[in-house]
C-alpha cells in the first residue's frame, strides 16, 4: 500500500500546487524522546489546538523536510499500545482509524528508546499490522551505547521491514537523515507480527465486510474498541455488540493473548538484532541517587527545600518583573492621559490597558513556575515526588502529582491550575483543580495585612511570636485544611471516568533539555495570555464601567454634594478630591450594587461600602484595599498604617467603631474562602474546557465563604 503524499485542501491555497504538504504523526512510548524529536523537527513553528471533543492538547507544527517540501507534524500523546488506557490515549485511535482516509496521517514516525527496545517495539508491531507506513526512530542511541546495548540496525531494518534511523533527538543527531527519509514516498511494511487467531476469523470477516475494511487487525480493533470509536453510529455499535455476543468474544483475554504473542515475536527479532555486551553493572547511578532522594527523611527534606526554592522564586523573584510591568502600565496610562482626554480615553486607559496589565502581570509567575516544573519533569525528579507523596495524597482523593499544584497555589492559583496538566487521571486532576484556589494565594496578602493590622494587636509572645503573624499563619492553615477536606468530599461525590492506575515508568535521572524547558515556558505563557486573557480583559472592562458610571446625572450631583460638604468642613484640595471620588463611587452602578446587596451581606456584618469592595475585588482580591481606600476617601494611599488609622476612626450608626473584631474576622474568613478572582475562573474554564467547573467552584467557594463568615460574625458579636 504505497502512499502518495497529497496536498490537503485548506493548505493548498497557501502553498503552490507543486509543494504538497504531508501529514506525519509522531507516536511512541512516554519517555522515548518524542517531545524532543517534535521540537527538533518543528522548532517554534508549533501550534497547540484541541483534539475534537476531548480535553487533550493537539500539538502540531510545520517542518521543512527539504527546501521544497513541508510537512505537518502531529504530536500524539505518549502511549504503550494501541489499546488506550486513558482518555488522552484515545485520540490516537480516533486519528489512526478515521474512516475518512485523508484525515489519517500519511506516515507515522515511531520513536523508540534504543536502550529499552523490547517494550518500545510493542506499539510499533501493532502499527505495522495496521499497515500504516512507518519509520522507526531509534532514539537515545547514546544511552544504549553506555549501557552496552549493541543494535544491528541492518538486521533490525530487515526484520521489521521499515527504515530504521538511529538518532539522538536531544543533540539533533539523525534529524537530517530522518527528514530526507520521510520526504520520500514510503510504503508500509510487508512483515506481519500478529495473525488474527483462527477462531476469531468469522467475526473479523463480518466486521470487514460491514465496514468495508481491508485490514484484519483493524477489524479486530473494531471488535475491541467499538464503544470508544467516535465515528461509529449507535446502530453500528449495537450491531458490533450483538456480533461479539454471538461469537462469545472475550476482549480482555484476547488482548492479553495478543500482547503475550507480540512479546514472543519481538524477542525473536531482538535475538537477531540486539546484543547486550556489558555484564550487568552492580548498580545504576539512578538507583544510588534514589536512595537519597526518596529516603524517608532526606527525601522529604530535599523536596521541602526544593519547594521552598520554587515558592521563593514565584513569590519573591517574580515581584521584580511584576513591578516593572505594573510601573510600565501606569507610565503608559499617565502618558496617554496627559496627552488626550475624554471618556473613550478613560475607557482605554482605566478599562482596557488596566485589564491588559492584569493579564500581563501573571506572566512572570507563570514563566518561573513552569521553568521549575519543566526542569523537575525533565530530570525525572517529578516521578520521585509522585512516588513519595502518593500514599498521603491518595487518602484525600488526590494523587502524588497534586502536590505541585497545591503548593504553587500558595503563590498564585493561575499557574498552579495550569500545572495540574501533569495529572493523567481525570478525576484526580479535576479534584486538584477544584481545591487549588482554596490555598491562600499572594493576592490575599494585602487584604489580610490591612484587616489583621486593624483588629489584632501587635503583641509578642515569648519575645518572637508575633500575634499578627500567628493569625496570618492560621489563615494559611485554614486554606490548606479547607482544600484537603474539600478534596475528600469530592472524592466521594465524583464518579471516576476511568480506572486509576499508578503503574508508570520510573525514568532514569537525566540532564534537562533546555530547549524543551524554554518551549514549555513560552507555550504556557502564550496559552494564558491568549485563552484566559480575553475573559479577564472583558470582565475588567465591565467592572470598570460599573465603578465609573452612574445612572443619569448622579455623578455631577455627587460631585456637587462633595464640594459643598468640603466647603463646610474647610477641606484642602486633595481631601476634597478624595471626597468627590468617594461620593462618585457611591453613586456609580457599583455603588447601587453595594446598596442592593446590603440586605444579603448584613448578617455577615458588612454594609454597602464593603458590598462595593466585594464587587470590584471580584476582578482580583487585592483590589479590595484600593476600593476601601476610595470609598472611605483615603485617596491613593498604599500605606497600611494610614489606611488602618482611617478605618479605625470609621463609626457605625450608633457612634461605635465600625470595624469590630467580629466584622474584621468575618471579612478575613470571607476572603480566605471566596472565589474572588476572575483570572482563576478563566484559567479553570480553559483547563477543564467547560463552564461547569468554574461555575461550580464559584458557587461552592462563595457559599463556603458566606456560611463561614456568617458563623464567625454571629459567634463573635
Amino acid at each position: 500500500m504505497a502512499v502518495t503524499i497529497e496536498a490537503e485542501a485548506p493548505e493548498a491555497k497557501k502553498v503552490p500546487v507543486h509543494q504538497p504538504v504531508a501529514r506525519i504523526a509522531l507516536i511512541g512510548n512516554p519517555n522515548s524522546g518524542k517531545t524532543s524529536l517534535f521540537n527538533q523537527l518543528t522548532g517554534l513553528n508549533q501550534k497547540v489546538g484541541n483534539f475534537p471533543g476531548v480535553t487533550v492538547d493537539k500539538k502540531t507544527g510545520i517542518s521543512h523536510l527539504t527546501p521544497q517540501l513541508k510537512a505537518q507534524i502531529i504530536d500524539l500523546p505518549g502511549s504503550y499500545s494501541l489499546y488506550p488506557k486513558s482518555l488522552d490515549e484515545r485520540v490516537i485511535i480516533d486519528l489512526l482509524y478515521d474512516p475518512v482516509l485523508k484525515n489519517r496521517p500519511d506516515l507515522v514516525i515511531v520513536t523508540a528508546d534504543a536502550s529499552n527496545l523490547k517494550r518500545n517495539l510493542l506499539l510499533f508491531t501493532q502499527l505495522a499490522d495496521l499497515r500504516i507506513p512507518a519509520v522507526l526512530a531509534l532514539n537515545m542511541m547514546d544511552v544504549a551505547e553506555t549501557e552496552g546495548v549493541k543494535i544491528d540496525v541492518e538486521a533490525l531494518q530487515r526484520d521489521l521491514g521499515v527504515p530504521v534511523i538511529p538518532m539522538n533527538a536531544r543533540k539533533g543527531i539523525g534529524i537530517a537523515a530522518l527528514k530526507i527519509l520521510v520526504s520520500q514516498q514510503l510504503s508500509a511494511t510487508e512483515v506481519a507480527f500478529f495473525e488474527v487467531p483462527a477462531n476469531l476469523r468469522p467475526m473479523v470477516d463480518q466486521i470487514k465486510e460491514r465496514f468495508s475494511l481491508n485490514n484484519d487487525y483493524l477489524a479486530l480493533h473494531y471488535a475491541h474498541q467499538y464503544k470508544h470509536l467516535r465515528f461509529l453510529s449507535e446502530e453500528d455499535k449495537v450491531w458490533v455488540a450483538q456480533l461479539l455476543e454471538a461469537q462469545g468474544f472475550k476482549s480482555t483475554t484476547e488482548q492479553a493473548n495478543e500482547t503475550i504473542a507480540r512479546y514472543v515475536r519481538i524477542n525473536e527479532v531482538l535475538l537477531d538484532a540486539v546484543r547486550v555486551e556489558k555484564a550487568k553493572e552492580e548498580e545504576k547511578f539512578s538507583n544510588k541517587l534514589d536512595q537519597i532522594l526518596t529516603h524517608r527523611v532526606y527525601g522529604y527534606l530535599i523536596f521541602m527545600g526544593l519547594l521552598f526554592l520554587v515558592f521563593q522564586a514565584v513569590f519573591a523573584w517574580a515581584s521584580y518583573p511584576m513591578d516593572l510591568i505594573d510601573e510600565g502600565i501606569a507610565a503608559l496610562n499617565s502618558l496617554i492621559q496627559a496627552n488626550f482626554n475624554g471618556p473613550l480615553i478613560n475607557l482605554l486607559t482605566e478599562g482596557v490597558i488596566a485589564g491588559l496589565g492584569g493579564v500581563l502581570i501573571f506572566i512572570p509567575q507563570i514563566a518561573i513556575l513552569f521553568a521549575f516544573i519543566a526542569i523537575l519533569e525533565e530530570t525525572g525528579y517529578m516521578a520521585r515526588v509522585t512516588f513519595m507523596m502518593d500514599k498521603i495524597m491518595r487518602k484525600f482523593g488526590l494523587n502524588g502529582k497534586s502536590v505541585v499544584p497545591l503548593i504553587s497555589g500558595v503563590a498564585c492559583a493561575v499557574p498552579a491550575v495550569m500545572s495540574a496538566r501533569t495529572i493523567e487521571n481525570w478525576k484526580d486532576r479535576m479534584i486538584t483543580i477544584f481545591v487549588t484556589p482554596l490555598m491562600s494565594c499572594s493576592a490575599r496578602i494585602p487584604v489580610y495585612t490591612v484587616l489583621i493590622a486593624l483588629v489584632v494587636p501587635e503583641v509578642y509572645y515569648l519575645g518572637f511570636m508575633n500575634l499578627q503573624g500567628i493569625v496570618l499563619m492560621g489563615l494559611y492553615l485554614l486554606g490548606f485544611l479547607s482544600a484537603i477536606l474539600s478534596a475528600l468530599l469530592l472524592k466521594v461525590l465524583l464518579k471516576a471516568r476511568e480506572r486509576s492506575y499508578f503503574i508508570m515508568e520510573f525514568p532514569v535521572y537525566r540532564m534537562p533539555r533546555w530547549k524543551n524547558v524554554g518551549l514549555t515556558i513560552f507555550e504556557k505563557s502564550r496559552t494564558f495570555v491568549l485563552e484566559a486573557g480575553k475573559i479577564i480583559v472583558a470582565v475588567s472592562i465591565i467592572l470598570w464601567v460599573l465603578a465609573s458610571y452612574g445612572p443619569g446625572d448622579s455623578f455631577e450631583r455627587a460631585e456637587e454634594r462633595a464640594v459643598a460638604e468640603a466647603e463646610v468642613k474647610g477641606l484642602g484640595e486633595e481631601q476634597t478630591n478624595n471626597l468627590i471620588s468617594s461620593y462618585q463611587l457611591e453613586s456609580s452602578y457599583a455603588g447601587k450594587f453595594g446598596h442592593a446587596i446590603e440586605p444579603a451581606i448584613r448578617p455577615l456584618g458588612y454594609d454597602w461600602k464593603i458590598g462595593i469592595a466585594l464587587l470590584t475585588s471580584f476582578a482580583a482580591r487585592e483590589v479590595f484595599v484600593g476600593t476601601i481606600s476610595t470609598i472611605y476617601s483615603i485617596g491613593e494611599e498604599e500605606n497600611v498604617t494610614t489606611i488602618k488609622d482611617k478605618l479605625m476612626s470609621e463609626k457605625d450608626a450608633d457612634g461605635n467603631p465600625f470595624f469590630t473584631p467580629a466584622r474584621a474576622f468575618s471579612l478575613l474568613i470571607f476572603y480566605a474562602f471566596a472565589m474572588q478572582c476572575i483570572s482563576t475562573l478563566a484559567i479553570v474554564r480553559r483547563e477543564t474546557k467547560s463552564w461547569m467547573w468554574p461555575l461550580a467552584q464559584l458557587v461552592y467557594m462563595t457559599g463556603l465563604a458566606y456560611v463561614s463568615a456568617f458563623a464567625v460574625f454571629q459567634l463573635m458579636s
Binding site: 504503550y80 499500545s81 489499546y83 488506557k85 529499552n116 523490547k118 517494550r119 510493542l122 480482555t252 483475554t253 488482548q255 492479553a256 500482547t259 503475550i260 512479546y263 539512578s286 538507583n287 534514589d290 536512595q291 526518596t294 529516603h295 524517608r296 527525601g299 522529604y300 516521578a383 509522585t386 512516588f387 513519595m388 502518593d390 500514599k391 498521603i392 477536606l485 475528600l488 468530599l489 466521594v492 480506572r499 492506575y501 499508578f502 503503574i503 508508570m504 515508568e505 520510573f506 532514569v508 456560611v707 463561614s708 458563623a711
Partner: protein, 105 residues
C-alpha cells in the same frame, strides 16, 4: 449547619478507614494462597507466574510484566507504598494493590 457538614465529612472519612481495614483483612487471607510481588523483600526477585486482575493485567503486560519474566522489588516509598520493581532492565513504580496482582511462581 457548619457543624453538621464537618460531622458528615468526618463520618465519610471514618467509613473509608473501615473499608480499608476490610480490604487489608481480605488481603491477609489472599496472601496465604499465593505469593505476589507484594510479598517480596527489597532486593528479592521472583518469576511472574500470572496476573490475577484481568483489567490491570493488560496494562502490566504492555509495560513488560509478562509471565516468565523476572521481577525484582527495587525499593519502597517512605510509607511502604508505592514500590518500584525492575522488569526487563527498567524500573516501574506501582501501588501495593497493583503489585499484589502480579503472582509469582
Amino acid at each position: 449547619m457548619q457543624y453538621r457538614g464537618t460531622a458528615c465529612i468526618l463520618q465519610l472519612f471514618i467509613n473509608s478507614l473501615n473499608k480499608r481495614r476490610e480490604i487489608v483483612r481480605n488481603r491477609i487471607q489472599k496472601s496465604q494462597d499465593q505469593k505476589s510481588v507484594r510479598d517480596l523483600k527489597i532486593g528479592e526477585s521472583g518469576e511472574i507466574s500470572s496476573l490475577n486482575d484481568p483489567e490491570m493485567a493488560l496494562k502490566l503486560l504492555e509495560m513488560g510484566c509478562i509471565p516468565g519474566a523476572e521481577v525484582k522489588l527495587n525499593s519502597k516509598a517512605p510509607f511502604g507504598d508505592p514500590v518500584t520493581i525492575i522488569v526487563n532492565d527498567y524500573t516501574l513504580s506501582l501501588r501495593l494493590d497493583e503489585a499484589e496482582t502480579i503472582l509469582l511462581k
